[in-house]
C-alpha cells in the first residue's frame, strides 16, 4: 500500500476472474460448490476482520458473535419476510449492535478489548439461550428457506467481491490511513486531526455488519440451528488465524489465508473434529514464531531475493 498511485492493470483480469468464478457452479459438483461456499464466506470474514483489527491492532474475537447474530436473524425472521429483506435486516442488526459495542469498549486497550470481545460471543449466546428457554421454551430452530447451493454461492461471491474491492479502495483512502495511524500510535492520530473514536466505531460497525451478513447467508445452508451452532467461538479464532496466515496489510492476504484453513478444516473436522483444534493451535504458535508477516510477507521476502521476478519488475515499472 506504500507504493505510488498503483497502475490498475489488474482490474480487467480480476473482473474476468470474478466472472469465471460466478460461472463455476455450472461445472462443479455440489460438494465442490459447498467447499467453495466455505472459502468465500471465510474470505469475506477474514478480509473484514483484517481491515479493522489487523490495521488498528484492536484484536477482536467478536467475529463469531456477529456471524451468530446473522444466523439467528434468519432463523427468527425467514418464515415471515422475503429473503432479501431478512438479509438486509441481519446486516443492520449487526451494524447497530457493533455500534453499541464499539462505543462502550473501543476505549479499552490491548488485552482487555480481546477478552471483552471473546466474552461477547459467550454473552450473546447465553442471552439467546436464556431467551429461548424462557420465552419460546425451545432451544432449536428450523430454517425453511428454499435456497440452492448455487444461490448461496453467488450471494457469497458477490459479498466477497464487494468486501475485497471495498477494502482495497478504502485502504488507500483517508479512512485506510486513519486506521493505520491508529494502529501505529493513537496519540499521534488524535493530534493529527483524526477523530479516532468515530473512525474506530464506524469501521468496526461496518465490518461487523459484513460478518452478520455472511452469517445470515451461510445459515441458508442449515436446516436446523441452536445457539451453540450459531455462536461458535472457534469461528473467531479461525478468521483471525486466516488473516494472519495470509498476511494483514494487503487486501488479498486474508482472503488467500482462508483457502488452506478451510481445506484443513474440511479434511479434519468430519473425521477428527478435535484434531482440527490442535492443528489450529499449532498454527498460532508457528505463525508467531516463523511467519510474522504471514505467507504474503514471505512472498515479499522471497521476491527480494529474486531480482528478475515478475513481482519485482512490476514494482519498478
Amino acid at each position: 500500500m506504500a507504493e505510488k498511485p498503483a497502475s490498475r492493470w489488474w482490474i480487467a483480469p480480476a473482473a474476468a476472474g470474478v466472472a469465471f468464478l460466478a460461472g463455476l457452479p455450472l461445472l462443479l459438483s455440489a460438494y465442490t460448490v459447498s467447499l467453495l461456499i466455505s472459502v468465500l464466506a471465510y474470505a469475506s470474514l477474514a478480509t473484514s476482520w483484517a481491515f479493522f483489527s489487523g490495521t488498528t491492532r484492536y484484536i477482536s474475537l467478536a467475529t463469531a458473535a456477529f456471524v451468530g447474530i446473522g444466523t439467528y436473524t434468519v432463523a427468527l425472521l425467514s418464515d415471515h419476510l422475503p429473503l432479501a429483506v431478512v438479509l438486509a435486516i441481519a446486516h443492520m442488526i449487526g451494524f447497530v449492535i457493533a455500534l453499541g459495542v464499539g462505543l462502550s469498549t473501543l476505549r479499552l486497550s490491548g488485552i482487555y478489548f480481546v477478552i471483552f470481545t471473546f466474552g461477547l460471543t459467550e454473552l450473546i449466546k447465553q442471552l439467546v439461550i436464556w431467551f429461548e428457554i424462557n420465552q419460546t421454551k425451545t432451544l432449536a430452530r428450523y430454517i425453511f428457506v428454499n435456497a440452492s447451493g448455487t444461490l448461496i454461492y453467488e450471494l457469497l461471491l458477490a459479498t466477497a467481491t464487494i468486501v475485497i474491492a471495498g477494502v482495497w479502495w478504502l485502504s488507500r483512502s483517508r479512512v485506510g490511513y486513519a486506521l493505520r495511524v491508529i494502529g501505529e500510535d493513537e496519540m499521534v492520530a488524535r493530534h493529527s486531526g483524526i477523530d479516532t473514536t468515530r473512525v474506530k466505531v464506524l469501521v468496526f460497525a461496518a465490518t461487523s455488519a459484513v460478518m452478520s451478513m455472511v452469517g445470515a447467508v451461510l445459515s441458508l445452508r442449515y436446516t436446523y440451528v441452536d445457539p451453540n451452532i450459531a455462536f461458535n467461538s472457534l469461528v473467531s479464532f479461525q478468521v483471525l488465524i486466516m488473516a494472519l496466515l495470509g498476511g494483514i496489510g494487503r487486501p488479498w492476504g486474508p482472503a488467500l489465508g482462508a483457502v488452506p484453513l478451510v481445506l484443513l478444516s474440511e479434511l479434519l473436522s468430519g473425521t477428527f473434529p478435535h484434531h482440527f483444534g490442535i492443528a489450529l493451535g499449532i498454527c498460532f504458535v508457528v505463525i508467531v514464531f516463523f511467519l510474522p508477516g504471514g505467507v504474503m510477507g514471505l512472498v515479499d521476502r522471497w521476491s527480494a531475493w529474486l531480482p528478475r521476478s515478475a513481482l519485482r519488475r512490476r514494482k519498478e515499472s
Partner: protein, 289 residues
C-alpha cells in the same frame, strides 16, 4: 434464611475465585504475561483428580501431589521456551502483547484439543464428601466447604509468602517495577519464570478443588481464565489482597444474580461487572489512587 444460604454459597465459590485470581496475578502481575491458556491447568488438575479417584480411589486432595508439580513444570517450560523468546525479540510492549495472546491462545487450543481427543467433550464429575453439613442454620455440602477451606488456606499461605519472606519481597518488587528490581540485584528472569510456574501450579490445585463439587469438561479452562481475569481487573493487577476481596465479590454477585434474576445469566453478570469496572475504575476496585 434462603438469602443467607445464597450469600454463603456465593462466599464459598468466591474463595475459589480469589485463589485462581491470585494465580493469574502471579503470571500477569509479576511475570507480566497474559496467559490465555491459564485455565487449562485447572482443567488438567480436575481431570487428574477425576481419573485418580475413578480408577484408583485416590483422594482428590492427594492427587494434587501429582498434578501440582506437573503443572508447575509445564508452566515453567512454557515460560522458558515459548514466552521468554518473545520478550527478547519484541520491539515494543504492544507487539509482545499481541504475540503472547496468539501463542497462549494456540496453547489453549492444543491442550483443549488433546483433552477432547483423549476424554471426549462430555461433562464429568464424581461423588466425594457429598454430605450435607449444617452451618449456622444453613445447609452446605461438605465438599464445597472443604474446597473453600483448602482454597482459603492456599491463598493465605501464598499471601504470607509474598508479604513476609525475602523471596516474596523480591517478587513484589518485580510486580511494581521490573527494571528497578533488576537494579537492586533481583534476578528478574528467573523469578518471573518461578512466578509464572507457581501461577500454573495454583490453577492445577484449584482444578482439583473445583472438581470436588462441580462437573467439568475439556472446554472449561477458558471459562475460568475469564473469571480469573475479571477478578484480577476488579482487584487490581499485582494486588493480592484486592484479588481475594474481588473474588468474594464476584462469587457473591453470581450467587445473588442467580437467585434474584436467573441462573442462566451468571455469565452475563460476569461481563457486566467486567465492563463496569473497566469503564469506571480501570485501576481496580481495591487499589489506591
Amino acid at each position: 434464611m434462603i438469602l443467607f444460604e445464597v450469600v454463603l454459597s456465593g462466599v464459598l465459590v468466591g474463595g475459589m475465585y480469589g485463589l485462581i485470581a491470585l494465580g493469574l496475578n502471579l503470571q500477569y502481575g509479576i511475570a507480566r504475561m497474559m496467559n490465555l491458556a491459564y485455565g487449562e491447568a485447572l482443567m488438567g488438575g480436575a481431570y487428574t483428580a477425576f481419573w485418580f479417584f475413578m480408577l484408583w480411589r485416590i483422594d482428590p486432595l492427594a492427587s494434587m501431589l501429582f498434578s501440582v508439580p506437573v503443572a508447575f513444570c509445564g508452566n515453567w517450560l512454557i515460560y522458558r521456551y515459548l514466552l521468554s523468546p518473545l520478550i527478547r525479540r519484541a520491539a515494543n510492549q504492544e507487539i509482545l502483547e499481541a504475540d503472547t495472546i496468539l501463542v497462549t491462545f494456540g496453547l489453549l487450543f492444543v491442550f483443549q484439543g488433546l483433552a477432547l481427543v483423549q476424554w471426549g467433550g462430555e461433562y464429568r464429575g464424581y461423588t466425594y464428601l457429598a454430605v450435607p453439613i449444617d452451618l449456622l442454620g444453613a445447609t452446605v455440602a461438605l465438599n464445597r466447604l472443604m474446597a473453600f477451606v483448602a482454597a482459603v488456606v492456599l491463598a493465605l499461605a501464598l499471601y504470607w509468602l509474598l508479604r513476609s519472606t525475602r523471596l516474596g519481597g523480591a517478587l513484589r518488587a518485580i510486580a511494581i517495577d521490573p527494571v528497578a528490581a533488576q537494579l537492586v540485584a533481583v534476578d528478574v528472569p528467573r523469578l518471573s519464570a518461578l512466578a509464572f510456574a507457581a501461577g500454573g501450579a495454583i490453577m492445577a490445585a484449584a482444578g482439583t478443588l473445583v472438581s470436588m463439587f462441580l462437573s467439568f469438561n475439556a472446554s472449561i479452562g477458558i471459562v475460568y481464565t475469564l473469571k480469573a481475569l475479571i477478578v484480577v481487573i476488579m482487584g487490581g493487577v499485582g494486588r493480592m489482597l484486592g484479588c481475594l476481596m474481588a473474588g468474594l465479590l464476584l462469587g457473591l454477585a453470581e450467587a445473588l444474580g442467580a437467585y434474584l434474576v436467573d441462573p442462566g445469566l451468571t455469565l452475563a453478570i460476569n461481563f457486566a461487572l467486567f465492563l463496569l469496572v473497566l469503564l469506571v475504575r480501570p485501576q481496580g476496585l481495591f487499589s489506591r489512587g
